[in-house]
């Protein structure tokens, strides 16, 4: 039977006769709120899904044209493999009833407890929750590709991307967000009072610390550091794509943060305001900071700054004032410039798109900012220092877990399938080496590095 037809008819009836057309028993206001929550959360999930396009464009734009096909393939594959893997394994690990005192879930794999097609199926919340969580998991995974761009073996990438989506991300997620589906399935971190509303740490830092581990194990791109260790610029091939990507991400974040209410009420608008102010602050601060330091208003820093503001406000977006949000964004934006420079020059870790700074460092900053700016718990509002202590624990645990798991994972891959492409392939470009094609046929491209 064609549901579409039925609803069409039902609607027509409802409108024509003004009789309760939908239900055996009358629909209640609460049912409707539940339906509204579904609509809102679904739309938010779609916006977050679209962030994949944003990441793809940013990462492609900030790398060289000889590696464009490769980075695009990585982006579509991490989302595809992640969507499947999270459905089978990750979701249950993260949201199922917890084993061993809140360390990981053991139920709800494939949402198997939810009968399909049965009575009341059409008003189910769980599927909407699943798609929303799936796109979050994919976000964490996709962050890694940026930090490891232009030199990672494709087959290795597929493997570790799967591991991130089915294991590293959901396990940490279980600790911090385990109770989102079943109230009594909470993880140990949230049990302590750790606050990370939309995932500064859970999603962004986790992804970034894995990426950091990857960038370290891989080593820098050929030509990134001179013989004397001085960093060289390897400019990306399209600032237009990079900018487009950032705008798409900014849009997607309105799904990410306000969507994390998973509830259709005025908080959506409020969180949209804090999110937007922080992003704007990030862009402004990064621009002026880069201008002051480098004597030019640097574009890639400015756009990174907007992302920095967005990552920073992800954890505190629902508990801070708009002014607080703006300050958090401004600091995030300044921070990202220093962090990129520090990682590039001092740590000498080669992160082509600045993913570690944007998602890792600013993710940590945003998480800590909860302890400072939260209207109830924050230090600056008389909430004392206990919350910031808890936040610090969460930040550190995320680092240890994600960076540690990443190091182990990448070391194993390095020793087995190999993590890095050959020198010759890196020189010619991964597009030809891994995929046997070029991204911009016909265009005369002149790359001497």
């Amino acid at each position: 039977m064609n549901k579409k037809r039925i609803t069409g008819v039902a609607l027509t009836l409802a409108l024509l006769c003004a009789a309760p057309a939908m239900a055996d028993e009358a629909m209640t206001v609460e049912d409707l709120q539940a339906n509204l929550n579904v609509v809102w959360t679904s739309v938010a999930a779609f916006l977050v899904m679209f962030m994949q396009a944003g990441f793809a464009m940013v990462e492609a734009g900030l790398t060289r044209s000889k590696n464009t096909v490769n980075i695009l393939m990585k982006n579509i594959m991490d989302f595809s493999i992640g969507s499947i893997g999270f459905f089978f394994i990750g979701f249950g690990l993260m949201f199922g009833q917890k084993a061993m005192g809140g360390w990981f879930g053991t139920t709800d794999f494939l949402l198997s407890g939810v009968a399909i097609g049965s009575e009341g199926w059409e008003t189910q919340w769980d599927w909407t929750f699943l798609i929303f969580q799936t796109v979050f998991a994919a976000t964490a995974a996709t962050i890694v590709s940026g930090a490891m761009a232009e030199r990672t073996k494709f087959v290795s990438y597929l493997i570790f991307s799967a591991v991130i989506s089915v294991f590293i991300y959901p396990v940490f997620g279980a600790w911090a967000w385990g109770s989102l589906l079943h109230e009594d399935a909470g993880g140990w971190l949230e049990g302590m009072g750790f606050m990370d509303f939309a995932g500064s740490t859970v999603v962004h830092s986790v992804g970034a610390w894995i990426g950091l581990a990857g960038a370290i194990v891989l080593g820098a791109r050929k030509g990134k550091y001179g013989p004397d260790g001085s960093p060289k610029a390897i400019p990306g091939h399209s600032m237009a794509l990079a900018a487009l990507g950032v705008f798409i991400l900014w849009l997607g974040w309105f799904g990410f943060n306000p969507g994390s209410t998973t509830f259709g009420d005025g908080m959506i608008g409020y969180i949209a305001v804090t999110t937007n102010l922080s992003a704007a602050g990030g862009a402004v601060a990064a621009m002026f900071t880069s201008w002051a330091i480098f004597k030019k208003a640097d574009m890639s820093m400015t756009f990174n700054g907007a992302l920095a503001g967005l990552v920073s406000i992800t954890a505190p977006c629902d508990v801070v004032s708009p002014i607080g949000a703006l300050i958090i964004g401004l600091i995030g934006g300044a921070l990202v410039v220093f962090s990129v420079t520090f990682i590039d020059r001092v740590l000498k870790v080669d992160d082509p798109v600045g993913a570690v700074s944007v998602h890792g460092v600013c993710g940590a900053w945003g998480t800590l900012a909860v302890g400072l700016f939260a209207l109830e718990e924050g230090l600056f509002y008389g909430g004392g220092i206990s919350q910031i202590g808890i936040q610090l624990v969460g930040v550190l645990v995320a680092f240890v877990w994600a960076f540690g798991a990443g190091l182990i994972l990448f070391s194993i891959l390095k020793a087995t399938v190999g993590l890095r492409v050959s020198e010759d392939e890196e020189l010619k470009g991964l597009d030809i080496g891994e995929h046997g094609m070029e991204a911009y046929t016909g265009f005369q491209i002149f790359v001497t590095q």
Binding site: G236, V340, T341
Partner: protein
């Protein structure tokens, strides 16, 4: 016959073409090139790292002419391209052993124009 190769500033291409037309030189071939000469490069930077750019955008013109056209051609290029500032460019003249028009198979001076 001579093959005249000139490197000029990109924005002077139209003026050079104009000057050549006035002297009845209407055939040429143009490519884009990067030039390194007396003209100072400039600094770019990317994500806070400096890049020394000393290959500057130039336009390369190649014109084959009969010997008696060599001088007017060179004059025309100078007329169109000269600003008096460093970076104006160079003209190189090479002897042309032969020239063939593919369409007709004509050779030598007849083929040039």
């Amino acid at each position: 016959m001579k093959l005249i190769i000139a490197y000029i500033q990109p924005e002077k291409l139209n003026a050079v073409k104009q000057a050549l037309y006035e002297r009845d030189v209407t055939k040429m071939s143009v490519t884009n090139a990067l030039g390194c000469g007396q003209q100072g490069g400039f600094h770019e930077s990317y994500r806070g790292v400096d890049i020394e750019v000393n290959l500057l955008k130039k336009v390369r013109i190649e014109i084959a002419v009969n010997d008696d056209y060599a001088k007017p051609t060179i004059d025309a290029i100078i007329a169109g391209a000269k600003t008096g500032k460093i970076g104006d460019g160079k003209i190189f003249v090479v002897d042309l052993a032969d020239c063939i028009r593919i369409r007709t198979g004509e050779i030598g001076s007849a083929a040039i124009g």
